[in-house]
């Protein structure tokens, strides 16, 4: 029997007869020894380790309930997808090296030291099968914020050169070119101009001073450019002094998703500096989930002091303008019933929970909520960088079925969300499953229903 026969036995159980699917192979970046990788992983995991992370690392009672909240565990029931297990190696290292009883764990060797191979094995758990949606944090009886610990672990994994290649590639592009998906400043400028022409409007770019700085997600720039026009139309309707800026327009933050905190800072600082330069009072973040987490809840942390402007997610901004009586929308112009997909980072973890509902109410939408919705809504499965990782497609499609079921059971005819990453995950899932639902943009619904003066 050859070596290959032994290593790759034929799997006759599947519809496609082939060799057995091999274990997920881990990607690596850079040249370094295993010891160096482990040391870097632990050092950068522990960097910025504060009180909250420590108390949460120390509090798990191994009840396993977090598995029941995870959209990767629920459809597969594969125990490795248990959320807290995804940081097990870092938990071990913390208890052995840094916790209050580190000497005790070391003395009795209760926690063995972590190896580079374990880190490689954990790459799939920390990146392919976690969208950092934080649903597990909602079920944990100890209130552990597992999602934040995953992000912390990613800091270590990035420096150890142990993250999925695709995610590394897009993050590197974002750092060096200004956009993960090729929306470089000149491309962006072109596309804004094109959208202006298409819509017979002049969309301001690089104004020296403006009250409002608009930003976009590269997914919108490259795939849903109508969002650019929709945002500008809303600004025109409100009569605001606004601009786009080629110095700070890309709201996605692949530094955050990949785990490179230096790049995360660079990416946030581009927008922050652009906003300060033009004297902006508001920075409007686009329909993008993690952009909101990155700038709204971590931007000032990156800046090191309070920001001299306010940050709003577009759905939040729309709701505020509706409530202030500034934004006038056509009532009952949206045909058919609608269900709303709550983007995790904006709603559950971001706090803009009622804003989209205020907007839909102003549109007179027949809203049929999913069960559960708001902070308990299931993730689309593509957040946290998961959609960029090709080898994660299988698990992502399994989790997407949970989402499709939720949408179907709502009984609504249309599906709307306020995150372009969710939207492209829905598009991809729709194609994969030949599904009849297309995810629409809340912002575009608003822009299509502005009352003309």
């Amino acid at each position: 029997m050859s070596d290959a026969t032994e290593r790759y036995p034929i799997d006759t159980e599947q519809a496609r007869v082939s060799v057995k699917k091999p274990e997920v192979r881990a990607d690596e970046q850079g040249e370094m020894s295993d010891d160096e990788r482990v040391a870097l992983a632990m050092q950068h995991f522990a960097k910025d380790f504060g009180y909250t992370a420590a108390v949460h690392m120390d509090s798990c009672i191994h009840c396993g309930m977090c598995a029941e909240a995870c959209h990767y565990y629920v459809p597969t029931e594969d125990p490795k997808y248990t959320p807290i297990w995804k940081i097990e190696v870092f938990k071990q290292a913390y208890k052995r090296e840094a916790g209050p009883f580190a000497f005790f764990y070391k003395l009795f060797n209760l926690k063995p030291s972590v190896t580079a191979d374990e880190l490689r094995e954990w790459q799939e758990l920390l990146y392919d099968s976690c969208s950092v949606c934080g649903r597990c944090s909602m079920i944990c009886p100890m209130g552990i914020d597992i999602a934040s610990l995953i992000s912390q672990a990613r800091h270590g994994m990035f420096k150890a050169g142990l993250i999925p290649d695709e995610l590394h590639a897009v993050a590197e592009r974002a750092e060096t070119e200004g956009s993960p998906l090729g929306a470089k400043p000149d491309v962006f400028e072109d596309r804004v101009e094109w959208m202006g022409d298409e819509n017979d409007m002049e969309i301001p770019m690089d104004k020296e001073k403006a009250d409002v700085l608009l930003t976009m997600s590269s997914i919108e720039i490259m795939k849903y450019p109508q969002s650019i026009a929709a945002t500008a139309k809303v600004m025109e309707h409100l009569g605001l002094d606004y601009t786009f800026s080629t110095k700070g327009y890309e709201a996605t933050n692949f530094g955050l998703l990949s785990g490179n905190i230096d790049w995360q800072r660079d990416m946030s600082m581009r927008i922050i500096n652009a906003a300060i330069d033009i004297g902006a009072k508001y920075v409007i973040l686009p329909e993008c989930g993690h952009a909101y987490s990155a700038l709204r809840w971590q931007g000032a942390t990156m800046y090191g002091k309070p920001l001299p402007f306010k940050i709003r997610h577009i759905s939040e901004f729309l709701a505020e303008q509706i409530e202030a009586g500034n934004l006038k929308l056509k009532q009952d112009n949206v045909a058919g019933s609608v269900t709303f997909h709550d983007p995790c980072q904006v709603v559950r973890r971001g706090g803009a929970i009622e804003a989209p509902r205020v907007v839909m109410d102003a549109l007179g939408v027949d809203l049929k909520e999913m069960a559960p919705s708001r902070g308990f809504n299931y993730c689309c499965g593509g957040g946290g960088g998961v959609i960029t990782i090709h080898r994660a497609d299988d698990i992502r499609y399994k989790s997407f079925q949970v989402k499709m079921k939720q949408v179907e059971e709502s009984g609504a005819e249309r599906l709307v969300s306020s995150c372009s990453n969710c939207r492209q995950t829905f598009d991809d899932g729709q194609t994969h499953f030949n599904w009849d639902k297309t995810c629409e943009s809340l912002l575009e619904l608003v822009a299509d229903n502005l009352v003309e003066e």
């Binding site: 209050p100 005790f104 100890m142 552990i144 809840w297 942390t301 706090g351 929970i353 308990f376």
Partner: protein, 219 residues
């Protein structure tokens, strides 16, 4: 010195010292870590985050509705054995005398039959949870020495207590001594393992409650 004298004297003192010092060490070791200043503009500022942190200490006692069906087994048995232990420790006549000896406070006890029943129910619930831990793929994978040892040092006082009241297996004095020693073993292990959740649930829940309330996010 008889075994019982040891258990009631130096054994108890030693165990209490390890318990108190250990618990303080672990709590202080965490609580003294830097609290990062959050410069991001809060959605709810002022005292709201503190209130949110305080609230979450209590709201997490019970799973939220969307999760109830999937966690019913764990939650039910967990509650049964925690309440059972509380009834035994704070309702049992012997235990109240023991507490009075130590701290000088006492209160009326529950009828002995209630305590025995609570003991048996607790035992059954804990065994059922152990079986689940050994058979459920998620729990089996997560479990380590701490989980099994903490289970053992928690169930031993229940078993030895029931043996002592039933005068089963040895002289009453010996059984009583073993019962007290098993409780001391639990005290000694307490600060080092997951039993610490009896204290840690407060700062752990409060930390998330604080952060998420500040954002206006879900808690």
């Amino acid at each position: 010195m008889t075994l019982l004298e040891f258990a009631r004297g130096p054994g108890l003192q030693g165990a209490l010292i390890i318990f108190v010092v250990g618990v303080l060490w672990r709590l202080v070791g965490i609580l003294l870590l830097k609290h990062k200043r959050d410069y991001n503009e809060p959605r709810y500022g002022g005292l709201w985050p503190l209130w949110g942190g305080f609230k979450m200490i209590f709201t997490r006692f019970w799973p939220r509705k969307p999760f109830q069906a999937r966690t019913a087994y764990n939650e039910t048995l967990g509650y049964i054995f925690h309440i059972g232990l509380a009834i035994i420790v704070f309702g049992g006549g012997f235990h109240i005398l023991f507490i009075e000896d130590l701290f000088g406070v006492s209160w009326p006890h529950l009828p002995n039959d209630v305590i025995y029943l609570a003991g048996v129910v607790t035992l059954v619930a804990m065994i059922a949870l152990l079986i689940r831990r050994l058979t459920h793929p998620v729990l089996r994978m997560l479990s380590n020495f701490d989980d099994y040892f903490s289970w053992l040092v928690t169930i031993l006082p229940v078993v030895t207590g029931l043996m002592a009241v039933a005068h089963f297996g040895a002289r009453y004095e010996t059984l009583l001594a073993i019962h007290i020693l098993s409780f001391e073993l639990m005290l000694v292990w307490f600060p080092f393992g997951k039993l610490m959740h009896a204290f840690l649930f407060v700062p752990s829940r409060a930390a998330s409650g604080y952060i998420m309330t500040r954002r206006g996010a879900s808690t």
